[in-house]
């Protein structure tokens, strides 16, 4: 077990290293840098002044040197300064994380509270009309672009309530916060809940076919007990996995939803930073998301290894 964990841990570090290389190189491949953008806003390019700015920001040094500098800074916990605001990158990134975390958390909560029960119902009532209706709804959840859903929700709110659930000032108090975040969370969470529902359904169906369930049934255990106590518990494990993976995927939905609802979280900030070629922000933010995603997967792998001994010997 110990060697397995160590091995997995090193592989995780290797993956993170790969991600840092990928994002760093890709950013440098994107044409233009902050100096171009800064001067673009002024409607001209002054070559000498631009070179001066590049030098000031260290953009004139060889790319490998820049990379080593970034990674060694990262190791020391020094994320550098945002090119745009000239404030420490950490001060720009940290305050925005709770905002996105709240949104993502609510979206996942929404996904689980709707997705799991509906998935179970769908599986238990397999091939009934209810099952078909639920499956169509869940498929539509995977088919609607979340920004469009957001726009529709906004339209509906203004048309029926005259109110608008967009973020203008940081909300005060628990209920205000909940109200403000729950609507965009629904727009993002619809997709995730559809996914969770489909997965719950299929893994539930698989478990229901297993021998021990048949045995439980044969022994005369009530259907309710079999379905909910034995089957659901076993069906949840793959669902948890997907929720872990979905956390990284959620980012995409968050980007467009934060744009539509004007939420000043990290997702929209990332897009803006890409536009500004604000390397310190983009690099560190992508690394942050990657670390979250990779650690979740790491933990899930460990969980599996604990639950299923075959895995740790197989690899």
């Amino acid at each position: 077990m110990g060697t397995y964990i160590i091995r997995r841990f090193f592989l995780m570090l290797l993956t993170l290293f790969g991600i840092s290389l990928l994002i760093f190189t890709m950013l440098r491949l994107v044409p233009g840098n902050i100096a171009d953008i800064v001067f673009n806003a002024a409607g001209m390019i002054d070559v000498a002044e631009k070179a001066k700015l590049e030098k000031e920001l260290g953009l004139d040094r060889p790319i490998p040197v820049q990379y080593v500098e970034w990674v060694s800074g990262l190791a020391r916990g020094d994320l550098g300064y945002s090119y745009v605001s000239e404030k420490p990158a950490i001060d720009e990134i940290l305050p925005r994380i709770p905002i996105t975390a709240k949104l993502a958390g609510l979206a996942l909560l929404f996904a689980v509270t709707f997705g799991v029960p509906l998935g179970v119902i769908s599986a238990v009532k397999q091939n009934t009309t209810l099952d078909y209706v639920l499956r169509v709804i869940s498929l539509s959840g995977l088919s609607l672009p979340s920004f469009w859903l957001g726009l529709l929700i906004l339209m509906a709110f203004v048309a029926y309530f005259g109110a608008i659930p967009i973020y203008t000032n940081p909300p005060k108090g628990f209920w205000n916060t909940l109200w403000l975040f729950s609507i965009p969370a629904m727009a993002v969470g619809f997709r995730s809940s559809a996914l969770v529902m489909r997965l719950t359904r299929s893994s539930m169906l698989e478990v229901l076919r297993q021998d021990y369930i048949r045995t439980a049934r044969a022994k005369g255990a009530p259907a309710r007990t079999v379905n909910y106590r034995h089957a659901l518990r076993n069906a949840l494990l793959p669902v948890v996995t997907v929720i872990g993976i979905e956390a990284a995927f959620l980012m995409g939905g968050l980007i467009v939803t934060e744009t539509v609802f004007n939420i000043p979280g990290v997702a929209r900030f990332l897009v803006e930073a890409i536009r500004w070629r604000d390397y310190p922000i983009v690099q560190n933010l992508v690394m942050f998301v990657a670390v979250v995603a990779v650690s979740i997967n790491f933990l899930i792998d460990l969980l599996y290894a604990v639950l299923d001994p075959r895995i740790r010997y197989a690899s």
């Binding site: 592989l11 290797l14 993956t15 790969g18 991600i19 990928l22 994002i23 890709m26 950013l27 491949l29 994107v30 044409p31 078909y132 499956r135 169509v136 498929l139 539509s140 995977l142 088919s143 609607l144 672009p145 920004f147 469009w148 726009l151 529709l152 906004l154 339209m155 203004v158 996914l195 489909r198 997965l199 299929s202 893994s203 698989e206 997907v242 990284a248 995927f249 980012m251 995409g252 980007i255 467009v256 744009t259 539509v260 990332l270 897009v271 890409i274 536009r275 983009v282 992508v286 998301v289 990657a290 995603a293 990779v294 997967n297």
Partner: protein, 296 residues
């Protein structure tokens, strides 16, 4: 090819042989899939015959007919530059299909190459490819596409490439695990015994057997690719004007008309959702038919 042992064939061995009757059988067994197939057929038809379906050019601007309500003449109304929305949606099918198919094919190509190598060759190749896949999988899909699109610049072909990259890891993973299982199959050992080269075995015997799961994954990814294109265009990257891309039709300038001219926002959104919904329905049925074991 006689040794190919598709699970489908064993399953359908006792059913009538003709292709059409098979299709008819499956359509009956999967009504939702049939609906999906019908939606996809309409979608493809629009893309191919756009020139014959529409009365207006999708790019012609006209101040006299700005923001017309849906109705006679312009069935779905006109946009802020007086362009016919119906024409733009029909031609938009072409863009969506091009981006969807293009990026799915490209993504599958890379995914299969990586997955097959990783699974069949094993060892160092496997380790390296696994890391590449891990890396690609840990960066959010849209972020990866965003940076790629920014790096390549807004153009149709670049958008296809940008969207295809994030599709690679999933395909590669599934193909790899399939290959791992197939590698141990008797027919592979048989081929080896006859003295076939490893490369030939991989391409002639292992690859064809991964086609079924590949088709299933690719159909699911087609929908995802269309959605990603829409998101990219919504954020201002992706397929540029004046190409009538559905996502672009929903972007900044159209979002301004959410209240005053809602049809600008509603119809392209419906088109995207319907097309993706169709591919998803179809993909689901296909999965049930081709490979009941393969789950999300």
């Amino acid at each position: 090819m006689s040794i190919i042992d598709l699970p489908v064939e064993t399953e359908t061995a006792d059913r009538p042989e003709s292709v059409w009757s098979k299709v008819r059988y499956h359509l009956g067994a999967h009504p939702l899939g049939a609906i999906g197939a019908a939606i996809m057929a309409v979608f493809v038809f629009c893309a191919v015959f756009a020139d014959f379906i529409t009365a207006y050019s999708p790019t012609a601007t006209d101040a006299a007919v700005r923001l017309l309500h849906p109705g006679a003449g312009h069935v779905l109304g006109t946009d802020q530059m007086g362009r016919d929305i119906f024409s733009r949606i029909i031609y938009g099918a072409r863009i969506s299909l091009a981006v969807g198919l293009g990026s799915t094919l490209l993504g599958s190509l890379f995914g299969v190459a990586l997955g097959l190598t990783s699974g069949y060759v094993g060892g160092w190749a496997d380790l390296v490819i696994q890391r590449i896949i891990d890396v690609l999988q840990s960066v959010p899909l849209l972020v990866l596409a965003l940076v790629m699109a920014a790096a390549l610049g807004p153009a149709l072909d670049n958008t296809i490439v940008a969207i295809s990259i994030p599709l690679i890891p999933y395909t590669a993973r599934v193909i790899r695990s399939n290959t791992l299982a197939l590698r141990e199959q008797p027919f592979v050992e048989a081929a080896r015994a006859v003295g076939m080269s490893e490369f030939r075995i991989a391409v002639r015997h292992v690859l064809p057997n991964t086609i079924a799961p590949l088709i299933v994954i690719a159909t699911a990814q087609l929908g995802a690719a269309i959605l990603t294109e829409a998101s990219l265009s919504f954020l201002g990257l992706g397929v540029p004007e004046p190409h009538p891309s559905w996502g672009r039709m929903l972007s900044e300038s159209a979002a301004e008309f959410v209240r005053t001219a809602p049809w600008l926002v509603i119809f392209p959104g419906v088109a995207i959702s319907l097309a993706v919904f169709g591919t998803n329905l179809f993909g689901d049925a296909l999965r049930d038919i081709l490979d009941p074991r393969l789950r999300d």
